[in-house]
Every structure is written in structure tokens, then in C-alpha cells.
Symmetry: none
Subunit: 206 residues, 4 copies
């Protein structure tokens, strides 16, 4: 029973292709991945890939966007709904998120951004607007809430909310590069970081 040469699935194709590309880029990096390899993984011909993505660069950008967008929306929604205290939020949902990233496919994306980003300024711009600045804004909101609550004192963290993100990047990169040489307990790492930060900014309840 011959399998059909054609499978008409217009709607699913782009996602199938970007998924395949994500996987391929993850293994070899952008430059070293051949378009044909992506097509093969997606079970599609080279030609069809080019029907959906005009260039390889185009495909790359779509990979980043497609991957980030849904996850981002989920996260932001999460923050807004919660009626946790600031500390509860940081130790709860935020910490969960931070622990997840270095183990999830997102870590690949981070490596891709670092590696290829500088060559794609418009992608960076998009990422900035849609991901980073939104994320920072969310963190600032939480901190402000903590201050209003009397949980937190004002601190340098208000000026550098990035301090909360920094270990996420670090453990992601560490995992990618040095895991074979020395494993990093990323969960413990994140927890300790949060501990340090909270210990410094929490108002004494004595």
C-alpha cells in the first residue's frame, strides 16, 4: 500500500516546518543546518519550505517567534491572575518558570539568540518588544506590589530587575556547555539565588 506522495495540509505546514527547524537548529546551530535537512525532518520538500518561508533567515525568525509567542502569553496571563503576595509569587510561579527554562526547549532558543541575534537586528527588536521588555515590566509590577504591601523595601532591584533573570540565562548556558564536565543543579541554583535576593530586600518583621 503506497503512502501518498502528497498530504495537503496548508494550515499545519508552517508549524511543522518551524518545529523541524527548531530541532535542527538546536543540534547544529543556524549556519550549519542545511535547509534540505529541515525539509526532510518536516517530511516536506525543499520547494514547499520555500513556499512558506522566502529565505532561510525568514525561517529562522519564524522559528523564534512561533516558539516564544504562545509560551509568553501563558506566562503573562499567569502573573495577572494571581492574588499571591509578592514573595509567594517569586517563590512560586516565577521560580517554577525559572527552573523550567534551562531544561526546556527554550534553552535552545536562548543559545540561538545569543549566537545569531547580532546578525538579525529586526529579530532582536521584535524580541525586545515582545519578550524582554514585557517580562521586565511584569517583574517590576511584582516588586512594586511587594513594596506597597510592606513586604519589600525599596532596593537596587527596582533599578535592576534583570538581576532576577540573570541566573536563568546562566544556568541555561552552563547546561548547554559544561554539563558533561560538571552538572549544575539548576533548581538549587535558582532557589539559592532567590533566597539571597529576598533575604536582602525583605522588610524585617521583628
Amino acid at each position: 500500500m503506497a503512502k501518498p506522495r502528497y498530504r495537503r495540509r496548508k494550515e499545519d505546514r508552517p508549524a511543522e516546518i518551524t518545529d523541524a527547524a527548531m530541532a535542527a537548529f538546536a543540534e547544529k546551530g543556524y549556519a550549519a543546518t542545511r535547509v534540505e535537512e529541515v525539509a526532510k525532518r518536516a517530511g516536506v520538500s525543499k520547494g514547499l519550505l520555500y513556499l512558506y518561508f522566502k529565505t532561510k533567515e525568514d525561517l529562522f525568525k519564524a522559528v523564534i517567534r512561533n516558539f516564544v509567542s504562545p509560551r509568553l502569553d501563558a506566562l503573562i496571563g499567569n502573573i495577572e491572575d494571581s492574588d499571591l503576595t509578592a514573595e509567594q509569587f517569586l517563590r512560586g510561579p516565577f521560580l517554577d518558570f525559572a527552573k523550567t527554562v534551562p531544561k526546556s526547549p527554550a534553552r535552545i532558543l536562548i543559545r540561538l539568540m545569543v549566537a545569531e541575534g547580532p546578525k538579525h537586528p529586526d529579530l532582536i527588536a521584535w524580541y525586545w518588544e515582545n519578550v524582554v521588555s514585557k517580562g521586565l515590566q511584569a517583574i517590576r509590577l511584582v516588586l512594586e506590589k511587594g513594596v506597597q504591601n510592606g513586604e519589600f523595601r525599596r532596593s537596587a532591584l527596582d533599578d535592576f530587575p534583570q538581576l532576577l533573570i540573570s541566573p536563568i540565562l546562566f544556568s541555561t548556558v552552563w547546561t548547554t556547555l559544561f554539563d558533561p564536565h560538571q552538572k549544575l543543579d539548576t533548581d538549587g541554583f535558582m532557589e539559592s539565588h532567590i533566597d539571597f535576593v529576598l533575604h536582602s530586600i525583605k522588610v524585617d518583621k521583628t
Copy 2:
């Protein structure tokens, strides 16, 4: 007998080439840099370059090693000689070092490692042995000294000395990617980070 001033000395060639390569990789990344371009920058023919470096990958590895080694030795020496207290050391030489990296050519190197590292396990291995593990060891030494001194209490930092490095990576990456969108005061960022950490681990002297 003075050597003619503009006469290139054979012994300098490899270094001249790796310097040129570093500059080129910095601008365009590894894959997008053509060997010919490196040769031209070094004022050397392609053929000669291949006499010193058997492949482009070879050249890449040499770039990393040549760049790191001298700086590393200086840094390590610095630590051993000092008779500062642990806190003085962290707020002094260590902080200086941490502030310098994101502004120095070393930041390029970091990006290169993240981008290309996974494809060169032996390079990672070398980097691990000669750079990272040594650096971590040095930090551990400092912390231990602090504990012995009664300056610091034992803390999660003993298990995760990487927490002290993490913001270096972060501000380097941030600078590379997002500076056009939002500048980060990397000095302040590093200082705040150290403040938080020290605040948490310092023994109360009351």
C-alpha cells in the same frame, strides 16, 4: 643592532593571525567570516595562514586559547598574591574584573563560546579545564578564606560559587543584544549583585 621597524617577525605571525581572526569573528561570527578575510586583515596570504592553522576550526580554537590564556594567568596571579580580606577581595579585584568583562573584547569570546561551543567539544573541554574550573576554584578559595576569617557564614554560595559569575555572563549578553533598545549600567548591575550576595552571607558583627 635594531631590527627594521616594519619587518614582521616570524614568531609573531600566529598571534597576528589570531588577532585578526578574533576581530573578524567579532564582527561577523564564525560561520560568516571567510578565511580569506582573516588572511587579508593579518596582512598574510591564505596559503600562509593554512601553514599555521590546518583548518578554519583549528584557527577558531587557537583564537579562543590565545585570547584567554594570558589574561587568565594575570587574574589568577592576582588572587594568590593578595592579602586582602575576602570581602575586600570580592569588592575590589573581583568586582573590577567583573565590571571589565562586558566592555572588553572578552565579551566577543563569550558570545563565540555560546554560539559555536557546542560544535567543538574538545574546545569546551579545554576551556573547562583551563578557565572555568580554575576560576571556580579560585572563588571557592576566597569564600573558604572568608569563612575561616569569620567574615562569612557557610551558605548556598559554597555550593554554587557560579552565582558570583552569573551576572557577568548576563550583562555581557545584554550588552551585545539589547544595548540599542535599553542600555544597562553594567557597573551598577554588578555592584548591586555583589551587595545582595554579601549582605546575605556576611556574619553579623553586632
Copy 3:
């Protein structure tokens, strides 16, 4: 019962397609024109186009034939009906025709024949039989009539009736290529040519 105005009639399809193709070929030449572009211009799907024309080459040939045939019939009819003297014919209908070509869409066709003809011998054969040899025959008829009338003497023109056509080709090509650099008054050009020829072959009536 009036047919709906905007309803395409099946019988017109091939003509609509060849017209669209003619326009496209005119702009970009045969090779650079994509079949999809032709289909789009004709308001038809690629698949349907292939229902009418088995290959792109097929389409090309149809373009030539469809374009030439109707015009040709008109012209030939014109000659046969006339009861003008030979000179009147050459200075009248023939000259009109010759003046028209370089300005009409037919000029595109000429360029296409020159450019692509050599690759399509059967098209050339068809063109020869249906266009060129008929045209030459018609000219020969006129000249013979002139001789019989005592208007013209026998001359080299009897052996080279092409001499009357040659400036048509020339002004067509010139217009296509060099108009931006130097306009050619094609009407004057044709008239002068006919003048020279007639001056040489006309019998002195003194």
C-alpha cells in the same frame, strides 16, 4: 438571452491566456516569465493553464500563432482585393503596414522570434510557411504586377523582395533597444526607404 457580463466563457480561455502570456513575455522575455505569472494575469489557476497548454514551450508557440494568424489573414485579404497600381499599393497599404509594426505589439513578437526562435525549429517552420513565405509571395505578386503594368523595370528587387521588409525589422529592433538613447522617426525611415527603392525601379515616363 444575454449572458452574464462578467462570466468568462470557456471558449475564450485559451485566447485570454495567450494574451496574458504575450504581455508577460513582452515585459520579461520568455525565460524570465514564470508560468504562474501568466496564470495570474489571465485570472486563471496554474493547473488550468496546463490543461490548455501542455508545457511552457507549448504556450509560447501558441502565443506566436494566435497573435500572428488573425493579423495575417487581414493583410493578405487586403492585397488581393485592391485594384491599386503597384506603386500605389507600396506607398499605400504596404507602407501603412510597415509603419505600424514597430509601434504595435507585433514588435514584441519579432523580438521573441529572434531571441527564442532558434530553440524552436518547428515554430520557425510554421512561421516560415504561414507568415514569411506568404508575405514574400504577396510582395512578388505586386512587383510582377508592376512590371506587367509597365510601372517597374525588372531589378534585383525581384530576386530580393526581402529588401522591402528589411527596414521593418530594423526599426523594430532599434525602437526596442536604442529609443532611450536616440529616437528614430520610424515613419520617415520607412518612407525614405521606399522612396529609394521605387526611385531605382520605376520606369522613366519622359
Copy 4:
């Protein structure tokens, strides 16, 4: 005895390649000729070809220029040196030239210009400046000399010197397209044309 894989001949290469390209374009036209085919004919690798010509279009332009330039210089020199009467010149060197073209490789070039010219305006511009306008100027010079001599009367030919070139184009195209169907005696054709023209513009010596 193995033949050498390399033949270092920097100076000859470009000419070898354009010659090969000329031949290939002649047979198949520009679009249908693959760069690889040209390289093979030139006994050279594809890569080397791209070392000398950045794109296929570049190669095309070089073909035209390289071919025309030397011939052109020869022709112009020819005109200037001669101390023939105007009629002698037209019936002598000019007629010779006109007879030669349709049989020479130049005819290929003409077809290429007609076919591909419209897509390369800068090439047309070059051709206009370096070939066509110079050629016309030369013809005008001859005619003026004839008038000054009292050989020729002023005529429409002064306004349309192209009339002398037109049959060259015609017989070239005819030869290319219709030779298999009906041979044209291009020599006789050119001679007859000149006869007609001269008969009309020559001053009566009665």
C-alpha cells in the same frame, strides 16, 4: 603521464572564459546556458569562473564587450585611413564589412543583443556609446565627404544613415532563423541594397 590539474594562467583566463561563453550562448542563448557548461568548455572549474566574473550577468556583459571592442577599433581605423571616394568606400570596405557580419560570429552577438538587451540597460548604453553611435558617426562622415566631393546629393540618407545598416541586421537575422527554409544570398542582398541607395543619391554626371 598525468596531466596537471592546475594551469596557472591568470592573464589568459578571462579571454578563454568569455570565448567559451560566447560559443555556449551562441548555441543555446543566455538563459539556457548553464554556467557550469561555460566552465567546462573553458576547461576551468565553476569556482574559477566566479573568481573572474562575479555573476552570470557579469559574464554576459564581458562577452559582449570583449567581442566587440577589438573588431570595432579595426573598423574605425580602416575608415579614417582611406583616401577613397565616398562611393568607393561604400562599395569597398563598407560593403565588405556588411557582407562579413552575417557569416561571422558577430551575428551571434547581434542575436544576443536583441534577445537579452532589454534586460540589461547598462549594456545597451555601453553598446550605444561605443558601437552604434560611433558607427553612425562614421557613416555620416562618409556621406558628408561624398556631398563635398560632388558625388552625392543631399538626401534622406543624411537623416537616416541607419538605412545603410538595416540590411546587415536583416540578413543576420534571416540567416539565423530561415536559412534551413530558404537560403538568402547575403552578398547579393547587400550589394543590391547599396545599388539602390547609391542610384538614388548619386549626382548625374551627364
